[in-house]
């Protein structure tokens, strides 16, 4: 029983690190632009396919392909925000959120149109897991976790130490005050879209590396990503990381008492509990 719990904990932590990347993307966009951009789902898919093109068609190694996933998904995020969502912003956050749902369906089907509905795998060997003391962990999972941690570290450094990063935090904290200081809110908004969707794409490819990809890759994890962001506190980047671990571990641990079929319910349950007892999430939205 102890071994089993330990195994589930490991699985959960590894799932959580993967989930954290798109969750940070989602929450970053919320922090700066103040709306829920559900198009993270399709951008995760776009990232996964960009990585696929780079890795399988062009033969790039996985780390470079991950970078391509980030850049392409980020560029799409920028573009779709400019073309579709930006004009709706004056109509209020709810309108934009609903439009983002529509946008994600459109983009998902564009991917389907371009690549078909087939399942695709990256050009990576499937490796046997490492076993130790009755526990097992996959080399690919560890690589993914390392990549996710690296991406998070880079983001933290960017936000903490660069001028642009500080600008983003300033706008997220108080747009009006930031405007008075001469920070161009539009530029920061575009940057947030790029970084947020780029991270979604990065996360999408990470998920694909461990399994395989199809046009629904991003949509499948949307609920978990959303739950992670809400649980941690919408708009808070450390919150998204903590939320991702809570959801990741929660989903895996739930199989002890629940049938795996109901694992998806964990996300909903977590949202329900957190919103009932701590409506601003574990960390609250103003924590950076």
């Amino acid at each position: 029983m102890i071994t089993e719990l330990a195994q589930l904990l490991i699985n959960g932590v590894l799932a959580g690190t993967q989930l954290a990347v798109p969750a940070i993307g989602f929450t970053t966009i919320y922090a700066v632009l103040r709306y829920l951009n559900f198009a993270v789902a399709s951008h995760a898919t776009i990232g996964a396919y960009a990585g696929f093109v780079a890795n399988v068609w062009w033969g790039w190694p996985a780390p470079l392909a991950l970078l391509a996933a980030f850049v392409v998904a980020g560029a799409f995020g920028l573009l779709t925000d400019e073309l579709a969502l930006r004009r709706l912003r004056p109509a209020g956050p709810l309108t934009v959120a609903i439009a983002s749902v529509a946008l994600t369906i459109v983009l998902e089907n564009m991917v389907r149109f371009a690549f078909g509905n087939d399942l695709r795998g990256y050009d990576l060997p499937v490796l046997r897991d490492w076993h130790f003391g009755g526990l097992r962990v996959g080399p690919q999972q560890l690589e993914n976790a390392a990549a996710a941690l690296l991406a998070m570290a880079v983001l933290f450094l960017f936000l903490a130490f660069t001028r642009t990063g500080k600008m983003m935090r300033a706008v997220a904290d108080n747009p009006m005050l930031a405007g008075l200081k001469g920070i161009n809110a539009e530029v920061v908004a575009r940057l947030a879209s790029f970084v947020g969707m780029g991270l979604a794409g990065f996360g999408g490819m990470l998920i694909g590396l461990d399994t395989s990809i199809d046009p629904l890759t991003g949509f499948r994890v949307l609920l978990s990503v959303f739950a992670a962001a809400v649980v941690g506190g919408l708009g808070s980047i450390p919150g998204a990381v903590i939320g991702a671990f809570v959801i990741g571990i929660g989903e895996e641990m739930s199989v002890v008492i629940l049938d795996p079929t109901y694992r998806t319910a964990v996300g909903f349950l977590a949202i329900l509990l957190v919103l009932s007892f701590r409506p601003r999430g574990i960390l609250g939205e103003r924590a950076y």
């Binding site: 509905n117 087939d118 499937v126 890759t217």
Partner: protein
């Protein structure tokens, strides 16, 4: 009193014109059949060829003069292998296009969702889904399926595994209407041959990782795994099993272990996977016809829809001009599949015989088309394959 031509009256009149034309044409308007197959989703690898075959049969029938002097028109729609989408598509086919039959629903959850719409509107439903529960619905005879039911399939799966040395079989099943039934039948079949079903995990297909599920399965120390999956989740499961170091045997359905699966996982991951599927009648001229339409060896579902359209056309022809609707297919489709009458292997040949007033015994690409009152096929052969070095090799047809 003068008749005033107002703008409103002109508009209404204008709108009514096309309908007047349509009413006048009704007697020789085409007979509409709905093709409702999965063009996307887990069944997306089968839908396109199924639709192609449906159109080809309709074209052949039309070229030979149609049914009761009317052409057959195929209206297509995509189920997306998703019950919600399938119901929307079926509503459109039934309410707007007024089809008299819906052909080729794939995946039991989809068929179960669409079925009530069909029987309530007296539209015949031809399906390739296998769940027992489908023909147990109160469908009043409006469902016919060419796919053997879960009971028959589970029985054969259990017999095969037991015959090949299985002692402890664990089942990993996608959440489908036949997961529970299938496990029960499998257990009975195994028990009858001195083996045992040692547990089942039903998993959520929409998840991208099944590590915990695989851990739970391997805890039971099975020597065979029965993977009651669809292709996308099977690809993920096989990878997880390989990573976990599982060395036992694996058994699954033919619709999951298809060419797309082979393309999506490395050869060492799929090695040794045994699959089975209802075997089409590969020696039949109808099978050759389907092969000619597609230009390659057909899958069982393309063969089955070939028979669906043929059966629908023949049943309508048998009903004659008296009524061209779902009720007519319902009333006559069981007379078409024999056993009495002259054996034919295509709709066109059957139509000629019916025109000459003879009885017809249609035997199609999927095999004999004799149905029980509840709509199940009476008998069926199965084909077993094994994957070796990334290629499928046939083990046996029995």
């Amino acid at each position: 009193m003068s008749i005033r031509t107002t703008r409103r009256a002109t508009l209404l009149g204008g709108l009514a014109l096309p309908f007047a034309g349509r009413l006048a044409q009704a007697a020789d308007a085409p007979i509409r059949l709905g093709s409702l197959s999965p063009l996307t989703g887990a069944g997306g690898s089968y839908g396109p060829s199924m639709v192609k075959v449906v159109h080809a049969v309709a074209d052949a029938v039309n070229a030979a003069g149609g049914v009761a002097g009317r052409k057959i028109e195929i209206i297509g729609a995509d189920t997306e292998t998703n019950p919600d989408s399938a119901v929307r598509a079926a509503r459109k086919l039934i309410d707007v296009d007024k089809v008299c039959a819906v052909i080729g629903t794939w995946a039991s959850a989809v068929t179960t969702a669409v079925a009530p719409l069909c029987w309530e509107n007296k539209v015949m439903l031809f399906t390739v889904s296998g769940a027992d529960s489908i023909t147990q619905l109160p469908h009043k005879g409006f469902i016919i399926r060419t796919q053997p039911n879960t009971h028959l399939q589970g029985l054969r799966a259990g017999e095969f595994m037991a015959a090949h040395g299985a002692k402890r079989v664990f089942t990993l099943a996608a959440q489908t209407p036949f997961a529970v039934d299938g496990y029960k039948v499998l257990g009975e079949a195994l028990a009858a041959h001195g083996a045992a079903a040692v547990g089942q995990v039903i998993y959520d297909q929409s998840k991208t990782s099944f590590r915990s599920e695989v851990d739970e399965a391997l805890k039971a120390k099975p020597d065979w795994l029965y993977l009651n999956s669809y292709q996308p989740d099977l690809a993920v499961l096989l990878r997880e099993l390989y990573r976990a170091g599982y060395e036992g045997k694996k058994f699954t359905y033919g619709y999951a272990a298809n060419a797309k699966l082979l393309a999506s996982v490395p050869a060492n991951v799929s090695e040794g996977l045994v699959s089975f599927q209802p075997s089409p009648d590969v020696d039949s001229p109808a099978y050759a016809a389907v092969k000619a339409i597609l230009g390659h060896e057909p899958d069982p579902y393309s063969c089955q829809v070939y028979d669906h359209v043929s059966l629908a056309a023949l049943a309508l022809a048998k009903a004659g001009a008296t009524g061209v609707d779902g009720q007519a297919i319902h009333d006559h489709v069981r007379d078409i599949g024999g056993p009495d009458g002259e054996t034919v292997n295509s709709a066109v040949d059957g139509l000629k015989l019916l025109a000459a007033g003879k009885a017809v015994n249609y035997e199609g690409a999927s095999g004999p088309c004799e149905f029980t009152a509840s709509g199940d096929i009476k008998g069926c052969k199965f084909r077993f394959d094994v994957i070796e070095k990334g290629k499928q090799r046939m083990l046996e047809i029995s």
